[in-house]
Amino acid sequence: MHLHYTPEQEAFRAEVRAWMEAHVPKEPLVTLECKEGFDQHVEWERTLASGNWGMVTWPEAYGGRGLDLIQWLIFEEEYFRAGGPNRANQNGIFLLGPTIMEFGTEEQKKRFLTPMAKGEVIWAQAWSEPGAGSDMAAISSKAIRDGDHYVITGQKTWSSRAAFADWGFGIFRTDPESKRHKGLTFILFDLNTPGITRRPIRQLHGDTGFAELFFDEVRVPVENCLAGEGEGWNVAMATAGFERGLMLRSPGRFQVTAKRLVELYRKHEAEAAPSAREAVLQAWMAAQAYAYNTYAVAAKIMAGGKIGAEASLNKIFWSELDRSMHRTAMQLLGAHAELKRFDNGSVNQWLEGYIFSLSGPIYAGSNEVQRNITAERLLGLPRVGAG
């Protein structure tokens, strides 16, 4: 237990800080969930790439810097300290990227990782279907082998940023006779392939942050399959582990929210309820606890360990923390909470954040499902029913 940064780590922090201070947009970007905001965020991805900050932990050969997870955490802390925008390519860099790193062929790594790190190709995740949400093994969209292509037919939904993104990664049933977890295959596809129709879906806030995808005999080359045919479920579970366990939500995001909440509380202290004061302190404490835990997980992985079912604890914790921090802010704002813009014209980021925080306990595997996993895999309680 050595909780001090080395001089090299401090120097790295200073380097990130200087770059972020010089480059992070002074005004918040328009929300990532609409076309205008998406374009601004992609522009930002390219700016990041120009400083070679796209994905610092990846090997240099794939557009990264070959840094370790502690450096990644320092990078993230400084990113959020500077008010860095949401990552347009988060499903690519945080989910698909590590998955390709683990399961991809050398050829696939070369082809997909560098453009991902550089923000040249933006990725959407296409797993959920109308009939397969929490119960992902109920996936029915088919990819039938025809020579050196798969022919995909079916429907995906809730695919974040799919209305604007370039490529998608999905899970399809390649064995039409198969049931449940078997016979599924992980396939990457160009969203502009003929036969794909995208139907944007308006989200709670009114913007089209996700989309439905319709596949009508879409031909995708066999070399776009990741890991082997029929391996889709195992690959997807590994991706979900990255998503929940470490990468998707780094602590800086919540620490900066907690800090803003402290500042908001100070402004509203006179009229704030005593319970709000405690909620603000809880926010700081929980965000710190989350950070310590992430440092512990990072150290474990650096020493060759793996993230198991405890990724579910992580996902439950950050999503419920995010929601409660924003709920507290909404309470502090009182009658201003409902305003989309404040009197000075600035966007009500707390409102936007509160709305988004309501999706945290749903996406990346609902918190009910995470509690099932915790009870069954970590505590060893009996599994009954759905399998």
């Binding site: 237990m1 909780l3 900066v256 800090k259 404490m285 509690r371 309680l381």
Partner: protein, 313 residues
Amino acid sequence: MDFRFTEDQLTLTESVRDYLAGTHGPEVLRRLDAATEQGNAPRDPAIWQGLVDMGLTALLVPEEHGGLGLGLVDAALIAAECGRACLAEPLVDTAFVGVPWLLAQGKSDQLAAIAAGEVKLPLPHAINPWTADGEGAAVQSVDPLRVLTQGSGPDDPHLLNLGALMSTAQLVGLADAMLAQATEYAKIRTQFGQPIGAFQAIKHQLASCAVAIEFAKPVVWRAAAAMQDGIASAPIHVSHAKVAATDAAMQTAETAIQVHGAMGYTYEVDLHFWMKRSWALAGAWGSRAFHLKRVDEAVLSGTLEIGPQSTFA
């Protein structure tokens, strides 16, 4: 930067855990409790001697005084094991709170005797309205295995922080043990033709305890490291740990009794020992309110640097 325990720390912790699991099970707690019915103190020289033989009283005593010279992080790990086993002997107070407190004052005359297990140190402090394992007239705790005596002491800030830190470590160990007991019970008790642990209402409550414990522990370890390194903000991290560990233990205690049904409300089922120790340690060495106020003063008045760049401030 390395938020991990060393191999040595993990090995030591495991050996203490195994030792206590083997020699200090619930039947021992019941036996000690029965002794109080005969008017005897719930203490057993043989248990104490076992801890001394394990080297635990010598853990923090410097090598020149016959000790092992280990640090507060090691001690916190062992204190958590003491909580897990619901150990009642005053090991944590004497060896993990008293010894570093004496060392901080440069007092070394008692160290060799403590290491040898010949001295147990009562630690009167103004924050507590009683002294544990002290000399005065008895006061009764809800925890039948605690020996409390009348008499408070001076208001020493370092002693308070050490006492609070070690209570947080015991609390996460207690919480672990209560979660394990409730989980085991949920696997064997059947109703409606299935183990109650197959009901989601039970699963989800236990899972929520697992979340609370998982995220209280790193706060405790961080506080221990901060105290060991003597950083200026250490008291705030101790207070943070006290709130987090108290909340995790209280939530787990309430969940554990609920999962046990009426069984949990009896004196027969051992769970009550762990619950009562949790209540006691939740209040000892500064209540939740006391510690929350210290966090409040640091975070809201701006004396502590906060934000993503200040994780380890």
